[in-house]
């Protein structure tokens, strides 16, 4: 069981969350080239080691979090809100 430190709810079991994948993917503008969209939709770094990823606290506060986790050891180095303005307002 992973324990994810939710900024609102404290450390919670990962079964309360839904995994939403690589958080480093940047979606391009709607009128961007096909190549840029292809890369954003289909291609992933898929690192063996530190990974920045999105988790949705579906059965908790429902916030989207960016979690730093190691894909080899499962060590979690931290979590913050994905929504930047809210994260700053909470500081």
């Amino acid at each position: 069981m992973l324990r994810i430190p939710c900024p609102f709810c404290g450390p919670r079991d990962h079964s309360e969350f839904s995994y939403e994948g690589d958080a480093t993917v940047k979606y391009p503008a709607l009128d961007a080239s096909e190549d840029e969209w292809f890369e954003a939709v289909f291609l992933r770094d898929n690192p063996r080691g530190p990974h920045r990823e999105l988790w949705h606290h579906l059965y908790g506060c429902r916030a989207f979090l960016i979690v730093e986790r190691d894909t080899l050891t499962h060590e979690i180095r931290g979590a913050r809100l994905a929504h930047q303005p809210t994260a700053e307002a909470l500081k």
Partner: protein, 423 residues
């Protein structure tokens, strides 16, 4: 190669089992090969075997980081089937199943392929309709499939809990030619047959880098280190599912449409024969079970659903799988679990694999197997060997390309889109 037969088994029994010879050695790598296959799992070994057997390319090395079949080839739930409906998958998996049907004879090694039928339970009218479409498409493509009404299902598998409250079992779609095989025997059989044809199988030899010349790959650097660790080859094939992204990055192939996820499997204590088929369901949960010849119940369910290279599974999925098991087979409630493990796999963006040339000259790719690599073992090796030897795909893997994502020609069997954890 020493041939195995009923007579050789009998002779061995009468002479104190002293007639058995070593079936593969520990060769020192040569400085140059025609083809290097990276990855000594089922797919890599099968590729080397078919290169030597069908294409006469015998100067081949298989490089394996650990030991033969220590990755997913030894961690799967041994199910073999071809109940696919989309062009690309359909012909490929049926091609593979046909190779399975003669594999023990082909390799002169009993891979214990048992066509015991793959029984896919349905729990709702809409699921039954969706499966009807799938099995009708299969039949149109010449693949066997049939429907078992609840009465027939009850008669054939009396232990099933048919009338469970909200989602009673409404029948099952069945592929009679599907079944199971002994996974270790498949690896050993291919390794033995490949060795007999002159293939060098080199274990404990990790590929740490690639040697380039004018944009092409001309060799590999290995963990054996120094000059002796450099092995040159005309062609290099990657068959390292689970770690494809890691090797692709070293080869300069860039990002791939893959996420690495882990899948758990479980085996119970050995019990007397109780389950004759492969019983499966998906949709309202995900569960598959069969019984090994040793008596252990081998079963599994969903992925752990987050990127991971750790070969260990988590407890929430464990609990879900057990719940699914008890829901349909309550009779197993008191059976003890013996072992649980996990393997890491390439989850591709459409749930289907790729066996193809790459944009880098000299580099060939066999990857993206998701849950389903074991059943593909002979088909994957056969078509990958063809692709490497002839520089063009076999008809059965012509659509399993890497550029299909860019072209929008996805082979998305479940319709989940580019969400690897759901395939």
């Amino acid at each position: 190669m020493q041939r195995y037969s009923a007579l050789s088994v009998l002779w061995g029994g009468l002479t104190g089992q002293k007639n058995w010879q070593k079936v593969w050695g520990h060769p020192k790598p040569k400085p140059h090969y025609d083809v290097i296959v990276v990855g000594g799992g089922g797919h890599g070994l099968a590729t080397a075997y078919y290169l030597a057997k069908e294409h006469g390319v015998r100067n081949v090395a298989v490089l394996e980081k650990g030991w033969l079949g220590g990755g997913n080839a030894g961690r799967n739930t041994t199910i073999v089937r071809s109940n696919y409906m989309i062009e690309g998958n359909t012909e490929f998996y049926e091609h593979s199943l046909k190779l399975w049907e003669n594999l023990s004879h082909e390799l002169n090694y009993n891979v214990m392929f048992s066509q015991r039928a793959h029984v896919n339970l349905v729990f709702s009218p809409s699921q039954r309709d969706a499966m009807a479409r799938r099995y009708n498409l299969m039949r149109l493509n010449g693949i066997d499939g049939e429907f078992w009404e609840p009465e027939e299902l009850k008669r054939r598998i009396p232990l099933l809990n048919m009338d469970q409250g909200r989602f009673p079992i409404l029948g099952a779609y069945v592929q009679p030619r599907a079944g199971t095989a002994r996974h270790d025997a498949v690896n050993w059989g291919f390794a033995r047959a490949a060795t007999a044809l002159g293939v060098d199988i080199i274990q404990n030899c990790e590929v740490t880098g690639f040697i380039r010349k004018a944009g092409a790959l001309i060799g590999v650097e290995t963990s054996r280190g120094g000059v002796s660790g450099e092995i040159y080859a005309d062609k290099i094939g990657l068959a390292v599912a689970g770690h494809t992204s890691v090797l692709a990055a070293r080869a300069g192939l860039g990002k791939l449409p893959i996420e690495t996820h882990k899948l758990q499997a479980y085996v119970s204590e050995p019990i007397k024969p109780i389950i004759d088929h492969v019983i499966v369901f998906g949709g309202v949960g995900h569960f598959y079970i069969s019984q090994s010849d040793k008596g252990g119940l081998v079963f599994g369910g969903d992925l752990d659903k987050y990127n991971s290279y750790a070969q260990k599974g988590n407890l929430p999925v464990y609990e879900n799988v057990m719940a699914a098991c008890i829901q349909i087979l309550p009779c197993l409630g008191r059976v003890k679990l013996l072992r649980q493990w996990a393997g890491v796999m390439d989850m591709s963006m459409d749930g289907s694999p790729f066996i193809c040339k790459t944009e880098i000259p000299g580099l060939y790719l066999n990857a993206g197997w998701c849950y389903g690599g074991f059943k593909a073992t002979p088909g994957s090796g056969h078509t990958f060997a063809h692709t490497i030897a002839k520089d063009e795909p076999h008809w059965a893997n012509r659509l399993l390309t890497l550029d299909r994502y860019r072209k929008g020609r996805l082979i998305d069997e479940t319709g989940h889109g580019p969400t690897p954890k759901l395939h």
